[in-house]
Amino acid sequence: MSAPILSVRDLATSFFTRRGEVQAVRGVSFDVRQGEILGLVGESGSGKSITCMSVLRLLKAGGRIKSGSATFEGTDILSLDEDALSDLRGNRIGVIFQDPMTSLNPTLTVGDQVMEAVRRHRKASAAEARARAIELFELVRIPSAAKRLNSYPHEFSGGMRQRVMIAIALACDPKLLIADEPTTALDVTIQRQILALLKDLQRRLGMSVILITHDLGVIAEVTDRVLVLYGGLVMETAPVRDLFARPAHPYTVGLLGAVPDLRDDTHKRLTPIPGSPPNMLSPPPGCPFTPRCPHAMAQCMAALPPLFGAAHQSRCWLQHPDAPKVDAIHEVAA
């Protein structure tokens, strides 16, 4: 197994607001290996986007990284100065955002927006940048690439705009691509096309991808390994097949129970997870999932469980050797 391209350790990020400190990420560690697609899954507010935006230090106003490290190709990104960091962004690490409708500048042509990324990181003439932009548009399968360079974002559909975003992210052949809910804002049919494109590009270019999503279907389809986040913590991490076959955390089990299965025609009702995510202004000292967990014990309230396991890790006291045996934990809710 190759060495990780990105190593995040004990990352903690908070937003300082008028109402207090919102502890969005509370000590997240993970590795991204060469050429793998790592899925980050969780509800809104679980800290999945903030984790990745912290790695790139692209937090919105009020956000601050409190501790931790993020080592990318041997350098700690979190200790780089702004100049060195901007040399990495868009060059070694590309990013795709959720909403292609708002992520492109409405007043510049899409070609310009691709070319400025090329020219920022490569000593390229205008003509070379243009040629590269055409190449990128062809790569992300935008028809009549050369002609579309001069179009403005509003002249594109949502799916086409997301292709432009991908072209920008890939402008300088990044080693790592961070895709923050790249298909959430798109129609279902377009979602599939974009996912297939991402997966195909990842294979052909041999890059690593962090895919952030709340959609378990997307996770199952394209990722190699999964990180389940909840309340700013990693709850479970496992290779994707393992996660779906043997979920080892009640939260993951709950998530899987809330997904409809089209192959199932028994008209089983979906099982939502009762309750709502924790208030991150004052997160509980114990496991943040305790109030919603069907297996909650006194211990869960008292102390935060560590991550148990090796390749398949779960932050649940049930995994403790002395824990009572619960038969149903792997059962995707009744």
Partner: protein, 309 residues
Amino acid sequence: MLTYILNRLGMMLVTLWAIVTLTFFLMHAVPGGPFVSERMLAPEIAAALNAKYGLNLPIWEQYLNYLGRILTFDLGPSFKYPGVSINSMIAAGLPVTLQTGLLAVICVVALGVPLGVIAALNRNRWPDTTVMFIATLGVAIPSYVIATVSIYVFALRLGWVPTFGLDDWRGYFLPVFALSGFWISFVSRLTRSSLLETLDQDYMTTARAKGLRKGQILIKHGLRNSLLPVVTVLGPVVANLITGSFVIEQIFALPGIGRQFVLSITNRDYTAIMGITIFYAAVLMLMILIVDLLYVWLDPRIKLTKATA
């Protein structure tokens, strides 16, 4: 593009005609006339004067005569100053007004926009609060107060600049300052709020994620998108400043057209009122047209259509 501009110019003529008509009849509806003064004229002289200037004709005939004349770009003779035509009156006053006005416009753009940018980039820190404090004062204090106080301080007390007139280049400082003070404040506040809104947009994060340099992000992605509302107000502001201000021209004794306009109203100098009104309206409409054309350049989502104004 060209058809659009021609269309707009056509519309402007129609609008001008409406303004001419309205002003003409409103003006004649006001009691008094150019030859009414405390010292009564002999009825024969008054009748002769009225006949000379065509004021004895029925009002609709006067109106048609006037329309016919302005079609040849002749704004007529002044009723108050014998031998002076309105064309020459505007030609004499305009350079003065234009000079101070354009300098004021330059100040508004060159100070208002950067101050707003500095404030936005330092949101809630001291540069922001300082700029916004001064800008609030600038918006609140009327120009004649700025003018008189600055004459007292800079001309009378410190003696740095003359109290009136434009004979010396230093004479421009105070009138330009008094003219532009309000608009600098206004534009800096507008730039600040507009830029803050833009900085919060998703595409600004995209620009940062591309690794672009700070200056490039600010100017190429930030400023351009936040200048739209600023350009919108700049059109009327430019029209306003280059057509002069009665108060400022009066205080600094500048022989501009702003002053002439107000004097012509009290004098009932019919042709002067008409001429300067037409001139002001034309400048304003031209500025608005330029703003509309600038929109298209700034924001490609805005399309020019034949359906106009």
